[in-house]
């Protein structure tokens, strides 16, 4: 049958380029290998030239493939499965790129594009290391392109092509008709959770970070291959610095994205997918330090090999974790299963690189030069090495816990787990604490080491030199920590006093690292920023740690119902007497101010966005002066939700940012039907106990006034100041309802009213105050419309800007070191600084939402 309206040419072209790139990358890898093996320089040169041509063929192929996918998605050619799955007509053009890397195939492609860019750089700049390094990169391209190959070998499909046709992929009666395309009105579009500008910029940066870790790995291979065991370190250090910078920024962009646009309630949740990208970064940083040690002293070469290899191995392992569906139920943002064949292929990819490389490393282990005299304890390299070792162990710990779902599926290990636990193993009740209690120790050790290591000299430093120089920073850090602890204590009681003590130790260590490194720029380097890359990086890192410790410890839930004294405190654990489920949601009725922390919050209007199904809720936050009741401050934030056609909702937070804190709010529940604005107002009547007030559909009897009620709904203590009206509402149909509005005087001497509603009668009652002669003022509001409301969660994150500022300084420090070690020309380096740092500052500190 000939189908009408299909555009088959782009797909055929795309498929051709995938195969061309696939074959070219394999041949390029072989050619580069040949070029790095033989002895005849002419022959080697020929192979090198041949390999370069093949690699460029591959580069052109992946760019062509990417352009064709873009073309298909941009033109909404739904005869292609990829366009149908990821694009839609209402999608704004800025999200077109995002919809390409939403899918598995597109994100593999993004990876190959970055490998191509890095490969071209190396071909032009790497001189004698070119051939062995490029053979590794070309081989990686071969594996990555295999993932999107889409060729059948017997019954198994090798890779998922992005150019498959919809009619070949899914079954349906319409595909029996030649005009089936007229029935496919629109594609499924980009997942609403991902419609955010972070989705446009975060994946490319993160994947550049992923892709760049292959360079140290490839150089390590080159070191073994050429038997110049130590010579690869010097040229690879700038690459490792670049990689640490980009991968670090990419990871934190993910955190910023989660913080800004996803409702996880924070920037880091120890989610397996987050951990899987943090672990290679830790290994990379460990490797970076051992490489610097080798460069200065000749120690730690073997460790440098190991870390360079493991870093890329764990990048591959993280691909395995996130893309094979093995994480299953444990992660919120892992890909789902892509099929057994592709899972096997990803597994093969991991093994093909990790196995042989580790084998080579151990076979040549003895031949890799090492200095057998131990480092002096008064040498810088000694403490740097200890730091690297701690980072390495921290990485192993994180990945060890993250891999629990893998253990549950590993033969033998699985049986051992079942033998001991009688079921598959899962994370404990408080998974974050499991990580935090170990990582706080790591922060402590790393913080101290970061502070002191630079004050030692390489090889050996006289004792007096060290003590003289370190004394002042130690004193300042101790004083600063004491001052801050005194003025702004940390409020993290959840895990008991021991853990809180550990947080303070970590806090001191981070402060120590900050002060010592900042001072070292002057006392050790005479203020020459050009040479101070390391110190600047450490300052940024320490600032980030401080920001993390403060913003997490002093995070405050202001929408908590318990903080407002209302609603039942259910879920108290009988064993620990701790709140099991903090009640973090608060419902705001339209036009009714509700207390939230120090703010009075009113939901006053809603509006729709220009995208289909998007709705904004405007919330006004007023901060009033306790004595004069005047408005001290007022702002409006507009968290929004996407309401999809099938009642699917996705929530985007909105944040009011101050220099010192963020007020972060998102919608957790909202009525799904269209609401009409409620214009009714409260009318006040004065009644005494036993009296009756009337409303249009019945009457209200004041049965009693209770002081400091302690019942299912309210929990007040003897010394509180709260009055509750006990009302009986009887409708004309003789239906009885119960309502208990309340008034209380809070800690700030402000009167707070907790209204009650009789939903069935659209009736609002409010305890407005006490009138003359034992009467109370009762506010009654009736509405013929259904009640409009929005339920929100609201947090305050103090000093979160320290986290972002720290990250920017860290990235800047890494770039300074990179520029210095790669001998970039001054003009180029200035351009690099301006572009990189201004875009980071803009993205992290100004572009909110």
């Amino acid at each position: 049958m000939k189908f009408l309206g299909e555009h088959l040419l782009p797909g055929q072209l795309g498929h051709f380029f995938v195969i061309l790139g696939f074959i070219a990358s394999l041949l390029a890898s072989i050619s580069f290998f040949k070029a790095s093996s033989g002895n005849d320089p002419v022959e080697k040169n020929n192979w090198l030239r041949f390999g370069s041509i093949l690699f460029f063929t591959q580069v052109i192929s992946v760019i062509a493939v990417f352009s064709i996918i873009y073309y298909i998605c941009a033109n909404h050619y739904y005869e292609y499965m990829y366009a149908y799955k990821h694009a839609s007509k209402e999608l704004e053009p800025k999200y077109l790129l995002a919809c390409i890397w939403e899918g598995q195939e597109g994100s593999f492609l993004l990876w190959t594009i970055w490998h191509s860019v890095l490969g071209v750089f190396i071909l032009f700049n790497a001189k004698e290391w070119k051939a062995p390094v490029m053979s590794v990169i070309s081989l990686a391209q071969f594996f990555l392109l295999m993932m999107i190959l889409g060729i059948y070998v017997f019954d198994a499909r090798i890779g998922n092509s992005p150019f498959t046709l919809t009619r070949n992929e899914i079954a349906g009666p319409i595909f029996g008709r030649e005009d089936y395309l007229t029935f496919i009105k629109d594609g499924m579009g980009l997942n609403v959770l991902l419609r955010n500008y972070w989705m446009v910029i975060h994946p490319p940066v993160l994947f550049l970070g992923f892709a760049s870790t292959i360079v140290p790995f490839a150089y390590a291979y080159a070191g073994i291959k050429t038997k110049q065991y130590g010579a690869w370190i010097k040229p690879v250090i700038p690459w490792a610095l670049f990689s640490a910078c980009v991968l670090g920024v990419g990871i934190m962009m993910g955190g910023k994205w989660a913080y800004e646009s996803l409702s996880f309630g924070g920037y880091w949740a120890w989610d397996p997918v987050e951990n899987a990208s943090l672990v290679p970064w830790l290994l990379l940083v460990a490797g970076l330090h051992t490489m610097v040690i080798y460069n200065a002293t000749g120690h730690s070469l073997r460790a440098s090999y190991l870390f360079a290899i493991l870093c890329f191995a764990f990048i591959l392992y993280s691909t395995f974790l996130t893309r094979t569906g093995i994480l299953g139920d444990t992660s919120v943002h892992a890909f789902t299963e892509a099929g057994n064949v592709i899972n096997t292929m990803i597994g093969l990819f991991v093994l093909a690189f990790t196995g042989p490389m580790l084998f080579l490393f151990f076979r040549h282990y003895k031949r890799i030069p090492a200095i057998h005299k131990e480092e002096e304890a008064s040498s810088r390299e000694f403490w740097m090495f200890i730091g690297s070792l701690v980072l390495f162990l921290a990485a192993l710990f994180i990945i060890g816990v993250t891999s629990i779902p893998v253990y549950n599926k590993t033969p033998l290990l699985k049986d051992i787990i079942v033998y001991f636990h009688h079921a598959a193993l899962a994370m404990p009740e408080d998974p974050e604490f499991l990580y935090n209690k170990v990582m706080i120790l790591v922060v402590f050790i790393i913080g101290i080491l970061t502070a002191i290591a630079q004050y030692f000299k390489y090889k050996q430093s006289p004792k007096s030199y060290f003590t003289k120089k370190i004394a002042l920073p130690t004193l300042i850090a101790a004083v600063l920590t004491t001052l801050i602890v005194w003025a702004y204590p940390l409020q993290y009681f959840k895990q008991g006093p021991v853990f809180k003590g550990a947080i303070y130790l970590g806090f001191f260590a981070a402060m120590y690292a900050l002060v010592a490194n900042a001072m070292y720029i002057w006392s050790g380097l005479n203020g020459k920023i050009k040479n101070a890359g390391g110190s600047v990086t450490h300052v940024g890192f320490a600032l980030m740690l401080l920001g993390i410790l403060i913003s997490s410890s002093n995070k405050e839930v202001i929408s908590s119902s318990t903080a407002n004294g209302i609603n039942a405190q259910v879920g108290i654990d009988p064993m620990t007497k701790k709140q099991d489920n903090p009640q973090e949601n608060l419902t705001l009725l339209r036009e009714i101010p509700t207390r939230m922390g120090e703010y009075e919050v009113t939901y006053f209007s809603d509006s729709s966005g220009h995208e289909k199904g998007r709705k904004f809720f405007a919330l006004r936050f007023d901060k009033k002066d306790p004595s004069s009741k005047k408005n001290m401050e007022s702002f409006v934030i507009k968290p929004d939700v996407y309401i999809m056609k099938d009642n699917n909702m996705s929530s985007n937070p909105d944040t009011k940012s101050y220099l010192t804190k963020d007020v972060f709010t998102y919608v957790t529940s909202a009525p799904d039907n269209e609401k009409v604005k409620d214009t009714a107002r409260f009318r006040t009547t004065e009644i005494a106990i036993g009296d009756t007030a009337f409303y249009s559909k019945g009457m209200i009897i004041l049965k009693d006034v209770v002081k400091n009620p302690n019942n299912q709904k309210y929990h007040f203590k003897e010394d509180d100041l709260a009055l509750m009206a006990d009302l009986s509402v009887i409708s004309r149909e003789q239906m009885h309802y119960h309502a208990t509005p309340l008034i209380r005087i809070d800690e700030n001497n402000m009167a707070q009213m907790v209204d009650d509603t009789v939903y069935a009668q659209n009736l609002f009652v409010r305890f407005e105050g006490v009138g003359d002669g034992k009467k109370l003022k009762l506010g009654i509001k009736e509405s013929d419309k259904t009640i409009d409301y929005v339920t929100v969660k609201s947090y305050i994150f103090p000093y979160i800007n320290l986290v972002w500022l720290g990250l920017i300084i860290m990235a800047a420090g890494l770039l300074i070191s990179m520029v210095k070690r790669s001998n970039l020309s001054p003009a180029r380096s200035v351009i690099l600084y301006i572009v990189a740092i201004s875009s980071l500052v803009y993205m992290f500190l100004f572009a909110n939402g």
Partner: protein, 143 residues
Amino acid sequence: MKKTHIIILIGIAVLIVGLLTYSVDFSTYDTIHSAQEKKGKFVHVIAKIDKSEPVVYDPINNPNYLSFYAIDSLGGKTKVVYHNSKPTDLERSERIVMKGKMQADHFECSDILLKCPSKYKDDKKQLEKNMNEQAATGSTSAQ
């Protein structure tokens, strides 16, 4: 201080971490039935929502109370109470992972993870369903 000394110290630190981790009470994946046998213990239960029973969530009265009934593939059934807002898509979810503790008469849930068909574009059956729905509405509007 020699390097070996430090390595020994680090070995001790690793041991402490090991003990810290070992002392952690790891949870397990249970069925409703086996969770009922270990009341009060924190477990993970994979189940689905029982659509024949009502889902109670009234955010105006209490935004932190959700209750529904869950059934699992082995026929176990329990009331579930979740003191938080109702996850969107709850009614549409195909499978839920509930973390919490079994009480006398209900499962006290502290976290819910949903598996929703709409979020998983790689599920071929769901794609087929979507496509056919779209085709059906397309043809009726055409007539």
